[in-house]
């Protein structure tokens, strides 16, 4: 069985988002990480690999620096890595990105494609389903659980809604978009890191994309024009405490205030 996981290098938004004066993201000022939904998708693929011996390929499109997330994926246990990078692909919106990735995927054998639900820098959730559309594949989005049956070549997926989930079954090949709730991704291993740094990352450019037209690529091929970008209003997850008495509640709050040095 062959699985391709599409991953993206994104700025770590944990410490807040930083913008350039022109409103675009200041990526240089933010740490780059593997997009959390994509990491959960990779973990799901690696768990299938642990069970069935599947081959896991990771693919990303981006600047040459995006090879870092591919190496991280290799250090977690992925088998092969492909970087799609070319100046003409820069500035792509979701349409041009999905066109590019589909063009790359046409060169590869796969039974299953897994993408993250959405990237934390754009939050569109469009690229995964668009890739499936380009390739004429069934798509199951918002997966919170994935089971593969190699014998019948099917996947059974729990698709999460706000208040319930659907259980869907699809014939492979198909595409699944993964939620970060799907699992806790594994750590890399030190030996995995050393191997990953020696491993070859296949690099493809525009010329390697199959059945795509130039007019659908890069900035020129992107129908989306960004008028304005802003950070989301952030609310912490908060902490729910159920004290046994009013006194306990007061003690707890005062304790927290002491911890933050608000009171002595």
């Amino acid at each position: 069985m062959k699985i391709v996981v599409c991953i993206k290098q994104v700025p770590d938004t944990k410490g807040g988002v930083k913008f350039n004066p022109d409103g675009t993201l200041d990526r240089a000022a933010m740490l780059a990480i593997m997009n959390p939904d994509d990491k959960a998708g990779l973990e799901a693929a690696l768990r299938i690999k642990d069970k069935t011996g599947a081959e896991v390929t990771v693919l990303t499109m981006g600047l040459p620096k995006a090879a870092d997330v591919l190496r991280e994926a290799l250090a977690m246990g992925a088998d092969k890595a492909i970087l799609v990078t070319d100046r003409v692909l820069g500035g792509a919106d979701t349409w041009a990105t999905s066109t590019t990735i589909a063009g790359a995927l046409r060169n590869i054998d796969y039974d299953l494609i897994i993408t993250g639900r959405q990237a934390i820098d754009g939050d569109t959730a469009q690229v995964g389903p668009q890739i499936a559309e380009h390739l004429g594949l069934p798509v199951i989005s918002y997966a919170q659980k994935i089971d593969v049956d190699e014998a019948s070549k099917t996947v059974t997926v729990e698709r999460l809604y706000d208040d319930r989930y659907h259980v869907l079954k699809a014939k492979m090949p198909c595409l699944i978009t993964a939620l970060s709730e799907l699992n806790d991704p594994r750590y890399m291993t030190p030996g995995g890191i050393f191997d990953a740094c020696e491993a070859e990352v296949t690099t493809w450019g525009r010329a390697d994309l199959k059945d795509v037209e130039d007019c659908n690529l890069g900035l020129a091929g992107s129908p989306t024009k960004i008028a304005k970008a802003s950070d989301k209003v952030r609310k912490g997850a908060g902490e729910k405490v159920v004290p046994e008495s009013c006194e306990d509640a007061v003690d707890y709050i005062v304790g927290k205030m002491k911890e933050k040095h608000i009171v002595l």
Partner: protein, 388 residues
Amino acid sequence: MDFTLEKKHEMARALFKEFAENEAKPLAQEIDEQHRFPRETVDKMAKFGFLGIPIAKEYGGQGCDVLTYVMCVEELSKVCGTSGVIVSAHTSLCCDPIATFGTPEQKEKYLVPLAKGEKLGAFGLTEPGAGTDAQGQQTKAVEDGDSWVLNGSKCFITNGKEADVYVIFAVTGKVEKRGKMLKEISAFIVEKGTPGFTFGTKENKMGICGSSTYELIFTDCRIPKENLLGQRGKGFNIAMHTLDGGRIGIAAQALGIAEGALETTIQYVKERKQFGRSIGAFQNTQFQLADMATKVEAAKLLVYKAALKKDEYTKNPKVSYSMEAAMAKLAAAEIAMEVTTKAVQLHGGYGYIKEYDVERMMRDAKITEIYEGTSEVQRMVISAGLLK
């Protein structure tokens, strides 16, 4: 000379940092208070290969270098000195001597499960009357048919009751050296559960309280003859070789503790307000922090240099890293003590309270000046190298 870390080392550091923050830090205070061995953290470290970092892949290890191992101990120790020493004692004091002196059969039987983290290792040299003075050993091993029979005890053994495999030193006879009769010391591999091998007192320590520090007792403990590690009579050399490596691990632990205290203090002085401004705005605080950071950086360079030197040794056994290891441990341990003491001072009254990490860090730092050779022993090693 290039002070830039390679990509693989940057990635490894990021891994250890993430692991330490997510897994070791949340338990650090609890295991300290409860004097509880963090088995759950050790199991996770085993799963992700942290217990066999510098061991060759053919023996179940990760096939990385000493610098990577050092960064693992350092990052763990930034948040939890106990977690750092568990990895250090296991790797440097048990895996390393078996990897260096073991027979192919011993490596297959003991090193593979140790490096995979299926088993935990420990090292028993110290006795009530033989710490710094290894010739003071009382534990004896007598050959009897196909066995060695051990009698005696070891004290202050890190990973004591939690380990599965122990490298133990014992007197196997007397030899004449330069007209003097000296004890002949040999090394052995002893498995937990061997009849006659029991545990004595659990030490109630000042710091690294989560670490399992026990007395080991051997009463007519019979071990197979093939468990002699290295040649008979070469125990002292094996112990000294092992401690040279161990010192790099402890130096990394001390470095991590110092770095952890510095980072915690930088955060604190930004938050804590006195006389209407953050205490970080006072020149005293700034100068203290500058001194602390400078010393930490100096310690780091010595520790990393010692690690690189040991890496060089693995490629060319003629290279000695004894001086570098002793210097790294001496400096890092004394700097850890100094930096953590200053960290407590800068925290004021809060620094003396157990809820604050620097209180634990100061207690944890002290042991790094004592175990695997006191600072005084490091000075002896260094000066012996200078004057030979």
